[in-house]
């Protein structure tokens, strides 16, 4: 018989066993991580639309993305770009978790560090091998800011051109944001709970938190959790109008920072109970130790002046994880590079960790820009990788740090990371912090 408090707590422990990402600085866990540790920047003049009417021109687009490489079961032409990016990230994550023996980018079949195009392979099976988990127990939780904004843009172009007759059924079958999670699930045959959480720039963390709850409650045995957003003129226009886009560089936490740079991408994490991961011999990057959510209820686009909501989210995450502030060895900052965000975020971190805290803090947005709904999912992947590999990616472009924190300037660092915190803040005053920790030194699974 099962039972006992030990087993209950074991069942509530959730592991990250796979990481997949499509980003402006690399596709797949290995390429992304290598780029971030090398401080590679993903910024270039925007190509996906004409920026001549703007006074800023840089973006962080995913270049050379080939949907057909990843979308095998569905018709890639019948998917929005965010769905395509999400499917690619999901396939990479499953392969990384050893749950798809047919994928050439699987870390199980390819030597570490080997990237590049996949060899020609026979047609794949319709659905993924899921390590014995029935499809009904495999779910998807994805976050986004804009869903599939390119589909609204296409509609608007037709609207203004007087060509509404050209609008067919594709608008409503591609645009609604829930289609991102739906497309991932249809492509991979995941028939469990399917949730889209459009919590803007904290959406990745929100989706991760939801997936953790679903697994802890026993409502699924395997979850794909992450975020996706497509580069869009709507987003670019909005941030340009807010004066938030940096003209040349993204320099989070630097005194002379001038703003963020919009980006795009997707990241998906494979989550499963620690006990199940151990049973199948999966590699565990980290354990999701806890999370905390809050709302400023203060302003739609500006954070609370004393970081009030951010403090509550961090404090809740620490309490949920049973971790003291001094045990945190790395903070992945929201760190957009806008003057206001970074200043208020530093205040909030100072209130939780102490003004003189020496915990390393870095912002990968200095390299791949602000990928919106994908951002905190990519940053969650970074936290898991930092925990797994004891390395911290740098904050690039940092010349004159504002304040007294250790922002890991410009060079990656080897540093033991037992616990990593991932902070994300969003329009609407949404705050979400997640915590990852090493999954070792713990009791072995006693229920087998």
């Amino acid at each position: 018989m099962k039972g006992g408090s030990h087993e209950v707590s074991e069942a509530r422990r959730i592991a990250v066993t796979g990481i997949g990402a499509v980003t402006p600085v690399g596709t797949g866990r290995e390429e992304l991580w290598a780029s971030l540790l090398a401080g590679r920047l993903g910024f270039a003049p925007v190509e996906s639309f004409d920026t001549s009417a703007f006074n800023v021109h840089l973006g962080a687009e995913v270049r050379g993305f080939s949907p057909a490489r990843w979308v095998r079961r569905l018709d890639p032409a019948r998917l929005g770009r965010a769905s395509q990016l999400a499917i690619a990230a999901a396939r990479l994550a499953l392969a990384d978790a050893g749950l798809d023996g047919t994928d050439p980018s699987s870390s199980r079949s390819a030597p570490a560090g080997q990237a590049g195009p996949p060899p020609q392979s026979p047609p794949p099976p319709p659905t993924q091998s899921m390590g014995g988990v029935p499809p009904e127990s495999a779910g998807v939780a994805m976050g986004t800011t804009s869903g599939e904004p390119l589909e609204v843009e296409r509609f608007d172009d037709r609207y203004l051109a007087g060509e509404l007759d050209a609008v067919g059924d594709e608008f409503m079958s591609l645009y609604p944001c829930h289609m991102i999670a739906a497309h991932v699930a249809r492509e991979l045959g995941f028939a469990g709970i399917n949730t889209m959480i459009p919590a803007a720039c904290a959406a990745g963390n929100y989706a991760l938190a939801h997936a953790v709850d679903v697994l802890r409650a026993g409502r699924a045995e395997l979850m794909l959790a992450g975020g996706a957003d497509a580069f869009s003129r709507i987003t670019y226009t909005g941030f340009a109008r807010l004066g938030a886009i940096a003209p040349e560089r993204c320099q989070p936490f630097d005194r002379r920072r001038k703003g963020m740079i919009p980006g795009e991408g997707a990241a998906v994490l494979v989550l499963e109970p620690v006990a199940a991961a151990r049973r199948r011999g999966a590699r565990i990057y980290a354990e999701v130790a806890g999370y905390g959510l809050s709302c400023d209820a203060h302003h739609m686009t500006a954070a609370h002046p004393e970081g009030e909501g951010a403090v509550r989210a961090m404090a809740r995450a620490l309490a949920d994880a049973g971790v003291a502030p001094e045990e945190v060895s790395y903070i992945s900052a929201h760190g957009t590079g806008t003057p206001t965000n970074d200043r208020l975020e530093a205040i909030a971190v100072g209130r939780v960790f102490g003004a003189g805290a020496r915990v390393p803090i870095s912002s990968i947005k200095s390299m791949l820009g602000h990928t919106m709904g994908a951002a905190s999912a990519i940053e969650a992947a970074v936290c898991a990788l930092a925990v797994a590999g004891d390395e911290i990616p740098p904050t690039m472009g940092l010349e004159e740090p504002e304040g007294d924190f250790d922002y890991v300037p410009n060079v990656a660092r080897r540093h033991r990371v037992d616990v990593a915190m991932n902070n994300a803040y969003a329009f609407g005053g949404n705050n979400a912090s997640t915590i990852f920790r090493k999954c070792n030194g713990l009791a072995t699974d006693s229920s087998v």
């Binding site: 609204v152 739906a182 028939a191 959480i197 459009p198 709507i234 807010l242 709302c295 329009f427």
Partner: protein, 485 residues
Amino acid sequence: VTVQKPAIAGRSIMEGRRRVVVTGAGVVSPLGDSPAALHQALVAGERARKPIELFATDAIGCREAGEIRPFDAQAYVGERNLRPLDRTSRLLVVAAQLALADSGCAQPGVPRPAGAVAAEQQAPPAEDAPLAAAPPPAPPAPPAEVGLVLGTTFCSLRTIAEFDRRGLRLGPAHASPLDFANSVINAAAGQAAIWHGLRGVNSTVAAGEASGLMALAQATELVRAGRAVAVLAGGAEELCFESFFGYYRAGRLCGSRRRVAAAGGPEGAEGERPVPFDARRNGFSLSEGAALLMLEDAEAASARGAAVRAEVLGWGAAFAAEGGEAGLAAAVARSVRLALADAGVPPAEIGCLSASASGSPEVDRAEAVGVAAALGERAGALPVTAIKAMLGEGLGVSAAWQAVDLVETLGDGLLPGIAGLERLEPGLPLPGAAAATRQLAPAARRWALVTAVGADGHCAALVLGAPGGPSPTAAVPEGSAEMAS
């Protein structure tokens, strides 16, 4: 018949978990702005469908929808400045205000609506009460922190599209920063949080027509896990040209069917029949509104003296990864089985069903087949309503409307009929779907089921219980968890 075993064993995860109760609700709909008013209209079979005035329908061969008219948000909120809020946010802010007031959860320090203040000032002072009378009970203290989980499909598609088009027409320097702030899909939830001082968890959930139910489910889990004590949960959706035209072109409105039919005959020959489960249904009627239920930890609600309207006993969700009606029906069945197992209520004990059916030929049938597969023999005698017959398809708000009205049904026993239902589709395995409003027997008013089915594959189910009813874990005989699965 081999039945797929749910991923969870209902009983095992129920032990020791917090109970979740409904302590109030707020509704904005084309058929009423309170749970009681909406229920009365549904019971009377009133229909929300009327000619659209919100936008021009010249380009569309379908001109009716469930538009809320008049919708004067200012009349609810007093003097506060509504200008920064788009229609979706206004619908939500009003629904939240009504739900906070109904549950006694208005947050201290937040500006009160003029109407509420005036009403309090008119109330007789306590000194005027007869000496013999007991002092009036203290009003329940509000929870220290309230969260919000919103289900929506689009938030405001109109705001997003207008923001983009203005930038295209006039140049990006003329796009409105205010519209941009409202263009994110969590904008309404953020605006409502600011308006009402909701500092707890703030989440937005999109799962098509199941969004509102998934929001209730997520809020339930947050309370069960002790992450929140009080959460407003439900949905909001506005009617706008962009989504109406999109669904029209996608062939999903009852009017789109007419357009298709018009190719072979005169326009309107078949009429528009957004009638759930009806043999001649031909699509849904789009609608708009907002609805929120206040979900609270049962012990906390009791401690603060809140009135309990119903209990959320369990939920389940599934996705149709395989397309087609059969795949959708299978996902519906799984979601219902999971909900029953989570609630610990066997199929035989379910008193009535508020179905998701909207008039969509394929989706309605898949729902009926799936529900019947999950409920077995019980499906043959189960009283069924489908309130979209009256309200229309409100997308993100739909399931929240269903839940709000089912709480009313648990209270008075009146299950609304399915207005316009002339002939049930032959062979449809839910024969208890009826045109007339019914009075439920007392035994049928204990546990009720809500289903939400999205055409894109999202399926969810929720079990509600009457307040003060027996805990199903105690009431259900041994072995029934296996029956449920």
